[in-house]
């Protein structure tokens, strides 16, 4: 530089440098403060998500449609009214017309208030019913999640332990994921203004407890376990030994991790 360094020029340069340094340190301090606030203190410290692989399974023949799981989930996760992280569907299949050549008549599905208060008697007369059963539903924790694929801000992701989660601080509430889920397992939470879904009670399973619905289910219709657990009496490995299982809507290629035993062809 050939120009002489004037006093004004020197002051300007020094001032600029100081301002820049102040900005950087302020930004660093505020970032650290925000992150400290976000990483809440109550989280279990020793939990390592890479050492677990959570699995939920349903035994359809065990579900009695009492709705205690729906109630337990609502209380555990402060799920708003009219929204459900888990719910029960009642399937009623009517008899086919005699001699009509069909193996079944029509299928009716209902889920009054998600089944939270149980089910009133069905409107279809008992004589016309071929068979009827309850199917519990929740997030299928897909390995190839459509909801995670469509999220424009990357707020939904699959954790290493196999649970699909929503980062509430990043979710902008656009609702793409709610439309993308082929199982209808997501909803817009009016309280938090974010997309919401079943987390398999992440705050419970990381503490060694079972999800609220599994804990409360009186009939053993919900089976939960850790596939990375090596103990032979783990409920989930026993379940896979004893049952033939399938996931919902396998033709969509979502690879649902939640599986069902005793599923009827009408269930979607």
């Amino acid at each position: 530089m050939t120009q002489n360094l004037s006093r004004r020029g020197l002051l300007r340069t020094l001032g600029g440098l100081a301002l820049g340094a102040a900005c950087v340190s302020a930004a660093r301090a505020s970032k650290a403060a925000v992150q400290k606030g976000l990483a809440s203190s109550g989280a279990p410290k020793e939990y390592d998500p890479t050492k677990h692989r959570w699995q939920m399974a349903f035994d359809v023949d065990r579900c009695i449609g009492c709705g205690l799981c729906v109630e337990a989930c609502k209380a555990e996760n402060s799920v708003p009214e009219n929204s459900f992280r888990t719910w029960i569907e009642r399937y009623v299949v009517t008899k086919p017309e005699p001699g009509g050549g069909d193996n079944r008549g029509e299928t009716f599905v209902d889920s009054p208030d998600g089944g939270i208060h149980g089910f009133p008697p069905s409107l279809i007369p008992k004589e016309e019913v071929l068979k009827s059963f309850f199917v519990p539903k929740l997030c299928n924790q897909c390995e190839n999640s459509p909801c995670a694929q469509v999220c424009p801000v990357g707020a939904t992701f699959e954790a290493p332990d196999g649970v699909v989660l929503v980062d509430r601080n990043y979710c902008i509430g656009c609702g793409f994921c709610i439309q993308a889920c082929p199982y209808g397992c997501r909803f817009f939470n009016e309280t938090t203004h974010t997309a919401d879904k079943c987390t398999l009670c992440y705050h419970r399973i990381t503490r060694g407890l079972r999800p609220a619905c599994v804990e409360i289910c009186p009939s053993g219709a919900r089976i939960f376990g850790d596939l990375k657990n090596t103990t032979p009496d783990d409920p989930i490995s026993q379940f896979f030994q004893k049952n033939k299982v399938e996931g919902l809507k396998p033709h969509l290629g979502t690879r649902p991790r939640t599986v069902y035993a005793g599923l009827d062809m009408e269930v979607r």
Partner: protein, 152 residues
């Protein structure tokens, strides 16, 4: 501007601008990307800990067993072995933290929530029609909830 490394001045300016933009980009990136991003994947690792930080609501069977092992053992030997204590006794976390807080008595009508007859219910479940099954009597007058099959 004095030529730098024999470059023409317009190239020197271009090089300087590029260096400034690249530096600004990496500075902004360092400041804006959360420190836990990429810990497990293309998302914030702290999000897992934030979701896990919620306090559990239901105490769970293990908590009951700590003090009421005798009752838990009795229930585990009878028909209601699959039930959680909280199914009938209600959410017990407050009671676990402070035993002085008593749980409400079992509410009438809880039995029929599971045992009212319905064609949708599986055949293995014991079901009754509450309008013709010993009407006017409470369930617990005959059935002991912990050993429901022992009927006098």
């Amino acid at each position: 501007m004095k030529p730098f490394l024999g470059m023409p001045p317009q190239l020197t300016r271009l090089a300087l601008t590029t260096v400034v933009i690249v530096t600004l980009f990496f500075t902004a990136r360092t400041l804006l990307v959360p420190s836990s991003f990429g810990q497990y994947g293309h998302y914030r690792g702290d999000a897992l800990r934030e979701i896990a930080a919620r306090e559990p609501y239901w105490a769970g069977r293990g908590a009951c067993n700590d003090c009421h092992a005798d009752h838990v053992k009795k229930v585990a030997a009878a028909e209601h072995k699959g039930l959680s204590c909280e199914d009938c006794h209600g959410p017990s976390r407050a009671h676990v933290e402070n035993p002085e807080v008593k749980l409400p008595k079992m509410a009438f009508g809880q039995c029929v929530r599971c045992h009212e007859a319905s064609p949708s219910r599986p055949a293995w479940l014991h079901q009754i029609n509450s309008h013709n099954h010993y009407t006017g009597q409470g369930c617990t007058e005959c059935h002991a909830p912990h050993q429901p099959n022992e009927v006098p």
